[in-house]
Symmetry: C2
Subunit: 319 residues, 2 copies
């Protein structure tokens, strides 16, 4: 069995590799990304069998050649321009690049008559502005994308359905909610909290800088994310979209308090107005019933465990 | 007052020019298209004041320069790759070109800080596969685009909302239903009927070749279309989408019978299987209540009048 993972060098890509090394050590892996992946956390024998192609998914020739040569069974498309903030500054570039990444991949598969199953990774951003009455969001909730990034994700999902229903290519879509987990960059809120608290404990930081602590989000551990992706690839229904989420909502203030308790800190909080988004949903929580029903997904990481691992990651880096 | 019309040389562009010549003869007009417009049906003085730029909307530099130089008050974006059949053969090209046309235009307006009002022309194809219970379609009906062309139109409408709500640019969207009217090409069903019947009457044609006569569609005269576009530009709400339709459903067999009666022919009908689409909606009818309520639109062309004018057009061409 051969996997092709685009965007392999990112946060999710690294965890996908770790998952495969642990649970499916016999598979072959081909990766594409702009830079070489950090694989220091993998054992050497597994690390050595990853075949890496350096380049961009915007390069049609590259992706076509890779697919023709490697003949993958499964393709996980993690490559994207995924910053919402960037998409507001460069709407056309963000939209065009994200949809081109997907189209280049899908056309390469179609034109090479590959039978590969494709996981088209989307985002809870596709739901856009959400009425409180629609929480938890199910896959039948309306899509009202409210930024250029989210619009590209909706287009990608619509195109996926066309490739699946019209061209009979097995494409399975996700609407993935907020990720958490060790190694996540500190531009993401929970990882930023964990890092600041670790700094408070180990390096003498005196306060925590944060945005709006009142919003409620659905955080899912990246290790549950990659496991659900693998289940979806093997058992998901082509042409369908799946929420990938924990099904639980937590207020950011609650998460901050849990982290402080675990670290044994009592750092005061300072609100930075620049970290508050002009328009934001007070609550985003997904339903994972379809994921459970179709592919028998059960989450393995509790919020408590995820937060402990994130704290431990930052503390280890600081020691 | 200055108008910029992209895709000015097409069927709708020609009728827009005719409308302006008749109802708003004082305006200035700048047009862009791949080929020069046929303006033989306009009076000479009006014809001479149309400034034409030959080129593609895919050429960012061209459209940026035209907007900077001409400073239009109103922009009507008629340029598109609008064949559904072509979009199935070339999905990526159709999607990319249509969304790039719109983005190049919108970015040129944004970057030049133009205050132009933009009419973003969309399609009833955005509704996709429609449940009979949802007829007539209102602007609140769900969008389930079912071909690459329709997906690009949905993306364009979503992007229009972003430019309108996020960047405060006045963009008004249409979901335009099937057009009819004189000068329409005979690749469109009603014009094809009218042409074949005129051939029967004048050139001895013995039968009419057609597809599925049982489907019901909402046909609106192109002259009502362009008048509604002008009303929308002047009085429509930025960020909103409007059905542009007649609000009436007619079976194709009924339209064929009306045409034969008007022409005094009784040609037999032959079904061509190649003209029947693999997947098609039995009925597509829109509600034009929002268009009536927001911009006081009243349709001026009855179906009977449209069909007479189309027959007369083909008969004139044959004589």
């Amino acid at each position: 069995v051969k996997y092709l993972i685009t965007g392999i060098s990112g946060f999710v890509g690294g965890h996908y590799l770790e998952y495969l090394a642990l649970k499916r050590p016999g598979v072959k892996i081909v990766g594409i990304d702009l830079s070489r992946p950090d694989t220091s956390f993998l054992n050497k024998s597994f690390r050595e069998k990853i075949k890496f192609h350096k380049g961009s998914l915007l390069d049609k020739k590259l992706i076509t050649n890779v697919i023709k040569k490697t003949k993958p069974d499964y393709i996980i498309n993690l490559a994207s321009y995924s910053s919402v903030a960037y998409s507001w500054r460069h709407p056309a570039e963000c939209f065009v690049n994200n949809t081109n990444i997907f189209l280049n991949l899908a056309e390469a598969v179609r034109n090479s008559k590959s039978k590969a199953k494709i996981l088209s990774v989307g985002s809870s951003e596709e739901y856009g502005i959400v009425a409180p009455a629609n929480i938890p969001l199910t896959e039948k909730s309306g899509l009202n994308p409210a930024n250029p990034y989210a619009i590209a994700r909706v287009a990608q999902e619509n195109l996926s359905k066309i490739y699946s229903d019209g061209y009979r290519m097995p494409v399975i879509c996700t609407r993935s909610f907020n990720h958490i987990g060790p190694r996540q960059k500190d531009i993401f809120v929970v990882s930023s909290f964990a890092k600041q608290i670790a700094e408070g404990k180990l390096l003498g930081r005196k306060k925590i800088i944060c945005g709006n602590l009142g919003i409620i989000r659905d955080f899912i551990d990246v290790r549950d994310v990659v496991r659900s992706y693998d289940l979806l690839l093997r058992k998901g229904k082509p042409g369908e979209a799946y929420n990938v989420c924990s099904g639980e909502g937590h207020k950011l203030s609650e998460i901050l308090a849990m982290l402080q308790k675990k670290a044994g800190t009592k750092l005061p909080v300072q609100i930075d107005r620049d970290l508050i988004r002009p328009v934001d949903n007070p609550e985003i929580v997904g339903s994972c019933k379809k994921l459970k029903r179709h592919v028998a997904f059960r989450k393995e990481y509790t919020l408590s465990r995820s937060l402990e691992d994130m704290l431990a990651h930052w503390e280890k880096r600081m020691r």
